[in-house]
């Protein structure tokens, strides 16, 4: 493999890293509060509100059921408005964030719903406010499960980021398609795929380890 190719690989690696990290952070900033709202506004939870719950539920489901490649093209005007351009690595972060946020919201929701209602009731019996219940009961109790959920989202984002080539976003997936597939360079294909596999393995390992450390239910 030529030096030029190796440079290209390193550049693509950082592009993928940038897209995944930035969109994970941004999607979490949207998805975590969204997941909390989806949970607490449920019937029988601490702040029941059927209207908010159903409206948010429909939006989340609609976003999640739109195929990523279509979402990416469909929100080009929004992307242009937010980052000033509809192509490039930074531009790819917008659709990645928008598709990952509802995913994270559902992951957070299912983690929070795992918490036994009795624990919430105990906090209420001590005079805790809904905000205190969210910050002192729901989030800390679900943290180990939330970490696993976010890990899942990061790995899904690595997959989605491969499609960012459509917007000229670059990254490892794009490299594999353009050089490995379209220019018949199987060595490039193999190297990128191996790098992706190693990335996913490492992220899953970090997520599992962290979650295990945080989980105090099995000691």
């Amino acid at each position: 493999m030529s030096n030029e190719m190796i440079e290209l690989l390193i550049k693509s690696f950082w592009e993928t890293g940038y897209m995944v990290v930035a969109s994970t952070v941004l999607a979490s900033l949207i998805g975590i509060p969204l997941g909390i709202i989806l949970t607490v506004t449920r019937n029988g939870h601490i702040l029941p509100n059927t209207v908010i719950n159903s409206v948010l539920g429909v939006i989340v489901n609609a976003t999640r059921s739109t195929p990523f490649i279509i979402l990416m093209v469909a929100i080009i005007p929004l992307t242009r408005m937010l980052v000033g351009s509809s192509i490039g690595t930074t531009a790819a972060i917008v659709p990645l964030t928008i598709s990952a946020a509802p995913f994270i919201a559902r992951v957070i929701e299912s983690s929070l719903l795992e918490i036994d209602h009795g624990v919430i009731e105990a906090a209420q019996s001590m005079g805790a406010s809904p905000m205190q219940i969210i910050y002192k009961v729901l989030l800390p109790e679900a943290l180990h499960s939330i970490v696993l959920g976010i890990t899942l989202a990061v790995i899904a984002l690595i997959g989605y980021s491969a499609m960012a080539g459509v917007l000229g976003g670059g990254g490892l997936g794009d490299l594999a398609i353009r050089y490995g597939y379209q220019r018949f360079q199987p060595d490039v294909m193999i190297v990128t795929v191996v790098i992706l596999i190693l990335m996913v393995q490492l992220i899953q390992f970090i997520g599992d380890t962290l979650s295990k450390k945080l989980n105090k239910t099995k000691l």
């Binding site: 624990v119 001590m126 239910t217």
Partner: protein, 345 residues
């Protein structure tokens, strides 16, 4: 201390209304241990949750320590709840917090500083004898230890009332006893009013001053524990009492026909119940001497009702009809409870 006035709770479901609690009034005095006993689904869980408004009553008023909880705003109610501790069947501890931090939790909610929290938590750890477990997580504790943490947590905000929701139902008999002893101890030491719901008559018998029996959303019997226990009025109450009564009829008597009426050559089977201290006279031997009858002891036992010893004696009296009737009159005139089982062969 606690007063429920015409409290009702109705759940509206798709398959119709469920009257979990029908118009109920109840007064619980300062410093007493009040038991509410009922089968599952009787409404006891709803009743105890109405006291701290975890269940908002459909109608009626709830007063705790002179304040009307049913008239409060959310914020006032949260403040009032700090005066009402609660413990649960499944403990409901925070799994992600240590024993110390679990007990500190209600104090954190009240916004107390770290030093103050430490000052309050440490004596509580000592009270429930878990000083050496302060840094453990709930998953490392036994059921009894978890409930001790629950009790310490409930006491952290110095409440005036402690609500116990089936607090011993998930524990083995020995642990149940130690938890009940702890509750009795804090009741006396802190002059804390305790309300406990349970389906176990053993629990009521062990520590309650007064008891209410609840069935189908209504209180069907209420009174001093000893009265309810020794002289139950209602069928359900009798079943509960029977559930802890070790003095059932022996098999030999069960299989023989028992008659309400005297017949030729019959003997009289009676059960005598008495409290220690009341029965200091030699009643049975007095009866034998006075009426020339024979008394055959079939079974006997003693039982503890809170701090009083309660005795039970099943005897069969042998003699002519007149002597049997005189003996019965004599027993009835004594300071004990006489239950006529009937005439047997």
């Amino acid at each position: 201390m606690i007063e429920l006035v015409n409290v009702e709770k109705t759940y509206h479901t798709s398959s119709g209304d469920i009257h979990a609690l029908k118009r109920t009034s109840l007064t619980i005095n300062q410093g007493e241990i009040f038991g509410i006993i009922g089968l599952s689904g009787a409404g006891k869980s709803t009743l105890i949750r109405c006291i701290n408004m975890l269940e908002v009553p459909t109608a009626g008023q709830v007063f705790v320590d002179g304040e009307e909880l049913t008239a409060m705003t959310e914020t006032q109610l949260r403040k009032a709840r700090q005066n009402i501790g609660m413990i649960f069947q499944h403990f409901n501890l925070l799994a992600s917090r240590t024993v110390f931090d679990n007990i500190a939790f209600p104090l954190e909610i009240q916004g107390l500083g770290k030093d103050e929290i430490k000052k309050r938590v440490e004596p509580l750890l000592e009270l429930v004898q878990l000083q050496d477990r302060a840094d453990h997580y709930p998953s490392q504790l036994s059921g009894g230890q978890k409930q001790r943490v629950g009790i310490a947590r409930a006491l952290a905000s110095n409440p005036k009332v402690l609500l116990c929701d089936e607090a011993t139902s998930a524990l083995d008999p020995q642990t149940t006893k130690s938890i009940l002893n702890l509750l009795r101890d804090i009741n006396q030491r802190l002059n804390l009013t305790i309300v406990m719901i349970t389906h176990q008559m053993e629990v009521v018998k062990e520590i309650c001053d007064r008891v209410a029996v609840i069935e189908n959303g209504s209180i069907i019997e209420e009174g001093n524990m000893v009265d309810v226990f020794t002289n139950p009025q209602n069928q359900t109450t009798k079943e509960f009492v029977k559930s802890v009564d070790k003095n059932t009829l022996p098999e030999s008597l069960k299989s023989t026909p028992v008659s309400r009426e005297y017949f030729e050559g019959a003997n009289l089977a009676v059960r005598l119940s008495f409290f220690s201290g009341n029965a200091d006279k030699p009643i049975v031997s007095g009866m034998i001497k006075r009426f020339g009858v024979d008394a055959n002891i079939i079974s006997g036992n003693t039982d503890q009702l809170k701090d009083r010893i309660y005795g039970n004696l099943l005897i069969v009296i042998e003699g002519p009809q007149k002597a049997l009737e005189d003996s019965l009159d004599y027993l009835n005139s004594q300071n004990l409870q006489v239950e006529v089982i009937g005439y047997v062969k």
